[in-house]
Amino acid sequence: MAIAFSVNGKPVSVEADADTPLLWALRDDLGMTGTKFGCGIAACGACSVHIDGAIARSCSVPVSDVAGKSVTTIEGLKAADGTLHRVQQAWIDAQVPQCGYCQSGQIMAAVALIEQVGSPSDAQIDEAMTNICRCGTYPRIRTAILAATGAAAQTGEA
């Protein structure tokens, strides 16, 4: 069946079974591979996107659920002129990624957190940032989130 929604502000329509996870509609049908497959059970967060502005783990959201809704992926964070989102820039400044595979999801989670609470506290970061990073970039993720919101830079860097 054809399911219509928007991705990063552009209308799209995919021919897919209703139970197809949004993740695979994005990756296999729309060719948007910035959103990653990590576990398939909403446990790791590598597939995080925004649906109508709220954070969601796209491996566990049927594409039929987003019909008529607005989906934002990592590819949609940049401004039209290519300027990076301040969270993306903070990620570069703090040199967060190692293998980088989980970082699309980490950045989407951080953007959602900041849009929701403004300047998150350490406790709010602890609570919201539940995505898995096997490389162990967590301290720099924290640093980048704080820096993106203008909090005192505690880079911990040499």
């Binding site: 079974d17 590819e75 040199q95 990624p97 989980c102 950045i107 350490d122 096997r134 490389c135 505690q154």
Partner: protein
Amino acid sequence: MADNPTPDLDIPEAIQPEAKPRKKGVKRRIFLAGSALLVGGGIFGVWWTDSSVKAKAKALTVGPGEHGFQTWMKIAEDDTVTLFSPHIDFGQGSHTALGQMLADELDADWTRLKIEQAPADLSFANIALGKGFLPEIVGEAVAGLLPDAIIGMLVRSMPLMITGGSSAIRFTGEVGMRKTGAAVRAALIAEAADRLGVPADELTTADSKVTHAKSGRSLRYGELAAGAATRSLSSDPVLKTRDQWKLIGQPVPRRDIPAKVDGSAVYGIDFTLPDMRVATIASAPVRGGKLESVDEAPALAVKGVEKVVKLDDAVIVVAKGYWQAQKGLAALSPKFTDGGHAAVSTSAIYAAQEKLRKAGGEPDNQGGDGDVDAAFGAADAKVIEADYRVPFLHHAMMEPFALTGHFKDGTLHLWGGLQDPLSTRTKAAKAAGLDVDKVVFNPMIMGGGFGRRFPDLVEIIDQVAVLAKQVPYPVKLIWSREQDVRTGTYRPQSSAGLKASLKDGAITGWRSDYVQSGNAEGEVPFIYNIPATSRRHFAYQSNQIDGPWRSVNATQMGFYTESFMDELAAAAGEEPYRFRRKHLAPGSRHIAVLDEVAKRSNWDSPLPDGVGRGIAIVESFGTIVAEVIEVSLKDDGTPRILKAFAVVDCGTTVNPLNAEAQIMGGLIMGLSSAMGEQITLDKGAVMQSNFSDYPILKLADAPPQVDVHFIESGAKTGGIGEPGLPPASPALANAIAAASGKRIRNLPLVDQAKA
């Protein structure tokens, strides 16, 4: 390791050192040293002495208007310098660091340096890596006498193009990049001297230009490249001294990071081709089991499913997309045999290991000095004993295995991320029944690896090689997370009995008896000065395939030794830092590292009740790391990690920003494994399936920051990707003991910490 899954390195008789009885241990160490040497492939021709190799490399990489100097370096007439790295990037950042080493010696313009992946071709076999590892095989004296041409021949015969053993910087960088940069710079100067008609010693270099200050003239590297490339390169160029470095040691931002924040980086799993199909797979739940039967019909009835392929030990479903393949696979009820391993379980393995260790048989490998039994039997000796256990550990790289294959016109093309491009080719050729020349492998970046992506242990290569030959279209095989967790090549389940004697507060004898598949002797140095020591390895192999897991045997050896040091300190009535200190060589690098971590962690400052600090120091991959972990205890007795400190002596840090990230990440991975990770077996099958039952430490449970400090000792450059991990688990267990008095000897610790 099943026991050494890598082929033996066949060193010609002529360069074999005198036969030593520990040859077996040495071989093992080579494997462990990077899990590597043997595995893979290609390289970096340090000098182009072999013209056919040079021609091949040149044909692959050097275009019009460009001039090749080494198999892995070229200069274009527009001044762009391109480095072809034989190492793959799976997050360790070595591409940028290798670029720093080359560009610094070359005096190249950093902004015009491009870093690319070396082609998976034998002409790129890594001679520098061969030279780095060779002394570990044949000894420094012998290795030093070998000409590069012989090393190149050896390396190509392996073939060697691996990424592992924390080897990129200490071997490829030190041996390959710096020397080449310096030699090419000398050739550029010689060319400029001729062109300008001035003595070479009046010329200086900077930012990809050669300048003659007296006459105010200068020539760009791009202008000099054609002529310089025809000059012979010195095999022993003068390297810069530390005070002359401009890039080495600088916190240069990593080149790969921008593409990793906007979704544009293309990993193996992201690769697509027109008309490509996607497949997924289920292997026998019991390692060693075979596929008995499967009714294909239920999968073929699923919309989008096109084909079911039966392998010896697995079933594959091919479909339009991953979701359809996954649905098709879920519809199947394949029957697998248990391979005769129905009695294998975690507890049965520990029981068998303990029985083996206590049977009094001859160890399979051993090391140490002095008469340990005499020390234990001395009249006034206080003898302490403790047993430890650690479970199988899964790598849990965030990108599950994915490999695309297309068999077209007799050639198999592959795309994906694996640690060794050359042995990937060899393995695929064998599985597909093709000549190696009929396999083209296109290496891509990897979403983590941690030791899991060494081709010899990567079954997806064989699976795709077989699959691609059966279908007319390109096909990408993706392992589900469940397949990845259950079909791992785990860090071995291991157990140990440690025993030591104390006299007047000093250790007089030490014995470590450990049981696991592989030998650690020669790989993990025992750093303490004790009059009598004995380390004995008893080999035990379960039905699992054990593989290298980040820092390899240093994880469990570090846990055993450093936990036991704390137990001995307690028995001696001393505090753990000073107790370690007095058993280390005075004036040693180890003492400097230990002292620094004590200072930075404020070791002697008092702590509130219920808060404890633990310390540990482990040397691995040529690098010494000491860590202090500070914990409080939650109401249920489990630890909350408050602070973490790491002090590192790896000789020289090429890129402190990236080195810090590697140590921090290793420390956190070590804490994660110690807290809750374990692969357990029942009836021969893995009981875990996904992150729901294989818990990885999350941000809230990790230390908020890690204080990482480097001691720039200038000693021989050590690795950085792995050494941060081993001290973390014993430091954590030691911190819990300090906070609660409870000594945890079996990992993972979270269940035992509970009151």
